[in-house]
């Protein structure tokens, strides 16, 4: 058990008062940053890099601080998703689907506590995965060429039908809209700008965060403005209770298989450098829905629908550290920033990192365990505090949401153009809500569209335009099979089921006549 011995050394490094304090500060700041719409893990980490330099921290200490912020932000993102239906960052997007309905049913405390536990389980298992499997897992990442990545993104879109809407056509429309928005900007394969209308700010494409904050937060504000003075909104909010703040043992037991399964999915998605935490939480949710949602309760406040994406995205955060440490290739925006930090500290991540800088790697992993426990201990008691947000009347809460949105987005980019884009997305979100079009697939289209296109075109270049290259490896075939089955089965079975239910109704009707 070499790994365990190294881990023990790692704990010796991490368990100093200074490092514990750094981890605590990092966890707290991370949770707050994650909860604020607009500030996500990658900006959170980037903002604290100068602090790490100014404090003159060594590589291990700096990494402990920054990864605590990273894990903290992954925890924090769920808070505004559940309470306000506004994702704090992009991996927390899926948590809105069942978290917000739970809050509306007066179970906000339960949802927050449960998601805290799910976050812990996901991150905890992923950290063990990092301990034992990092060197082997790198080989998994190497199985994925452009064709396999493309198939993986197809899988994500194929399972999309299941989420967010009763109306499949509207969900498909929303995803297509998102894909269209993703096409804006300079095309990486040729360097030619598309749909940029000569506007240089659009060359970089539409920032996900700007789109998320506009679509979710601002449109919420617009809806409130539209209904101003009407009792429904006010009355609705005041009726929402807090609910219990500790989840019952039965609920936890019921969600445990979900958490274990989705941790695995999330971890694997995290390990793939081209996939990331958002894809992890998305696949975790849609797979889990396909697997266990027999009563059709997902999307209406099913606790398992809260546990799934949270375990998934926190496991993905741990998984994303595998390619970063072992290959020097960042799997997400946040690990890209962490990687840059390591480089600036004269540490070259890569195949030799585990042997050349064991103190950094194992100290870091030990710090992840410690940070994770701290986050669980910090988050459960704080649930009672967070849920009080719901008691704030909308006429006060909504202006605050608007303010935080504007300040958050301007704080990241320093660009007034982004604020205008955000307002445009706010209006778009308002229109889509009026038309009952789900917003989540729009964001997924924006998030995954570019990567999907780039990988398709790379695969085509390599194969000289031979489409069969897309199904040339067993892995690609497997992914396509799952996609097709996942797409076709619900359509067929849905029809059969509906037909059977319809018939039964007819029969019942006939009997009662």
């Amino acid at each position: 058990m070499d790994a365990l011995a190294s881990l023990a050394d790692g704990f010796a490094v991490a368990l100093t008062w200074q490092n514990l304090l750094l981890a605590l500060v990092g966890c707290f700041l991370g949770t707050v940053m994650g909860a604020l719409p607009g500030l996500g893990p990658s900006n959170g980490v980037a903002i604290l890099i100068p602090l790490a330099f100014t404090l003159g921290l060594g590589p291990t200490e700096a990494m402990i601080l920054l990864t605590s912020v990273y894990y903290g932000a992954m925890y924090g993102g769920r808070i505004s998703s559940i309470l306000l239906n506004i994702p704090g960052d992009e991996p927390a997007l899926m948590t809105t689907l069942d978290g917000y309905p739970m809050a509306q049913q007066g179970r906000a405390g339960e949802a927050l506590a449960l998601s805290g536990v799910a976050s812990f389980v996901g991150a905890f298992l992923a950290t063990w995965g990092l301990v034992f499997l990092a060197p082997q897992l790198v080989k998994v990442a190497l199985l994925f060429g452009p064709a396999e990545y493309f198939a993986l993104f197809v899988l994500a879109f194929a399972t999309l039908g299941g989420i967010a809407s009763r109306n499949q056509a509207k969900a498909a429309f929303a995803a297509a809209l998102g894909l269209g928005i993703a096409m804006v900007g300079v095309d990486g394969q040729t360097g030619v700008p598309r749909f940029a209308f000569g506007e240089v700010h659009l060359y970089d494409g539409i920032d996900f965060l700007v789109a998320i904050v506009g679509l979710f937060a601002l449109s919420e504000v617009f809806i409130f403005l539209e209904h101003r003075g009407e009792d429904t909104v006010e009355g609705h909010a005041s009726k929402v209770g807090i609910g219990r703040v500790i989840p019952s043992g039965r609920l936890l037991a019921r969600c445990t298989p979900t958490m274990l399964r989705t941790s695995l999915i999330g971890f694997v998605a995290g390990v793939l450098p081209g996939a990331g935490a958002s894809l992890g939480s998305f696949l975790a949710y849609s797979m889990e829905k396909k697997l266990v949602d027999r009563e059709g309760t997902f999307g209406k406040g099913d606790p398992r629908g809260v546990a799934a994406p949270e375990a998934g995205n926190n496991a993905a955060a741990g998984g994303a550290l595998v390619p970063m440490l072992a290959l020097g290739v960042p799997g997400s925006g946040t690990t890209a920033v962490l990687l840059a930090m390591l480089l600036a500290l004269n540490i070259t991540p890569g195949p030799l990192l585990f042997t050349q800088n064991p103190d950094v790697v194992w100290g870091l992993i030990a710090a992840l365990f410690i940070g994770n426990l701290m986050l669980l201990a910090m988050n459960i008691p704080m649930v009672g505090m967070f849920v009080r947000v719901l008691l704030v009347p909308p006429r006060i809460l909504m202006p605050i949401v608007a303010m935080v949105s504007f300040v958050g987005i301007y704080g990241i980019s320093g660009s007034t153009f982004d604020l205008l884009v955000m307002v445009v997305f706010g209006v778009l979100g308002w229109v889509l809500r009026k038309l009952d079009v789900p917003l989540v697939p729009v964001i997924l289209g924006v998030l995954l569209g570019n990567l999907m296109e780039a990988n398709l075109r790379r695969a085509m270049t390599i194969s000289d335009g031979e489409w069969s290259a897309l199904v040339a490896s067993p892995l690609a075939i497997g992914l396509w099979t799952v996609s097709i089955v996942g797409f076709v089965l619900p359509i067929l079975f849905g029809r059969v089921l509906r037909a059977r239910m319809g018939r039964r109704k007819d029969e019942e009707g006939a009997v009662s006549d």
Binding site: L343, P351, I462
Partner: protein, 330 residues
């Protein structure tokens, strides 16, 4: 600015104590410093910003910490346009640049932008190009790779971190041209988001060769996962990369030097420009920077101020000529 003034005072005190500054240089002192890396974290420009920023801070040459902003897109075009159009008069800002910047300017790939719209600061070294294959590849030399391309261009895909027509692509074309390959357009080049992703795809076996800069491949060369078959330098590099033969040794007279340096907004004041030229030159001359260069396979290139500007102009002219020769531009 209550928060910054004590730091500034400290920094200027440190500078006076160092005694390395002439009086006029103190005429300008930036409130905050920023370096734009026109690509995502992890690539060459990001490396330039972060390492130079850290050295500036370690040597006490700037007040506080240099903020590094990543503005990715369009092979640096987004950042260039941002600096020209929106941040043209900032005195605390420098932008990482390299041969890739010159390549794009030469090919007119930054629409409406020219090198005269910005002020050039100085170089901090040159990163010579490498061509590498996977450890297990049957190919051992650059001529072998070129022969295979000649025999069947479809059998070899080459991955790089720059867009089609970018410097990583151009390097391969230069080598292929020198190796006597007639139709350069038959060479398959696959663009990835940065050198790290491109190397990973080489290890994954999706592509047969990788082209990039020495510094991008360092971690994988050390571990022995990739095999460098040629360094596109006039002579063998110093340090770890000295073990690998140059293309010239193998009879293919191709040189691909990716210089790394900085430009600044065109409206920067003369005092601020002088400040940055002096600071970057000081970093370049420091033993700390020599160590960074040695560790990362950077070769010397000592140019600053007007000399650097002239060098960039030459560089753009010669890349335009190569691009025309191989049919990339008319």
């Amino acid at each position: 600015m209550l928060a910054t003034s004590p730091i500034r005072r400290l920094a200027s005190a440190a500078l006076v104590a160092l005694g390395t500054l002439a009086a006029p240089a103190l005429a300008f002192e930036p409130e905050a410093t920023e370096c734009i890396a026109p690509a995502n974290p992890g690539g060459g420009w990001d490396f330039t910003c972060r390492q130079v920023g850290k050295t500036l801070q370690d040597l006490g040459l700037i007040p506080g910490t240099m903020q590094v902003t990543n503005i990715a897109g369009g092979g640096g075009g987004v950042a260039f346009a941002e600096v020209v159009n929106k941040r043209g008069a900032e005195n605390g800002l420098i932008v990482a640049a390299s041969t890739a910047t010159a390549t794009r300017l030469a090919q007119g790939a930054y629409p409406g932008n020219t090198m005269d719209q910005v002020r050039w600061i100085g170089a901090v070294g040159a990163d010579y190009g490498i061509v590498a294959v996977a450890k297990s590849s049957e190919i051992n030399t650059l001529p072998e790779l070129m022969d295979r391309i000649k025999a069947d261009p479809r059998s070899i895909s080459i991955a790089g971190g720059s867009a089609v027509g970018g410097w990583d692509h151009l390097k391969v074309l230069i080598a292929a041209d020198k190796a006597g390959i007639e139709d350069l357009r038959t060479i398959k080049y696959v663009a990835f988001d940065g050198g790290g992703e491109a190397v990973t795809q080489l290890l994954a076996g999706s592509v047969q060769a990788f082209t990039g800069d020495a510094s991008e491949a360092k971690g994988f060369v050390d571990s022995g996962d990739i095999k460098v078959i040629a360094v596109l330098a006039p002579e063998r590099l110093e340090g770890d990369f000295g073990a690998f033969p140059t293309a010239r040794e193998q009879g293919i007279d191709a040189i691909g030097a990716n210089w790394r340096g900085f430009y600044a907004p065109g409206g920067m004041s003369d005092e601020a420009h002088a400040y940055w030229v002096e600071r970057v030159a000081t970093v370049y001359a420091s033993p700390e920077w020599k160590a960074v260069m040695a560790q990362n396979g950077l070769a010397p290139l000592d140019l600053s101020g007007d000399a650097f500007r002239a060098f960039v102009a030459d560089s753009i002219a010669s890349i335009a000529e190569i691009s025309r020769e191989i049919g990339l531009i008319k």
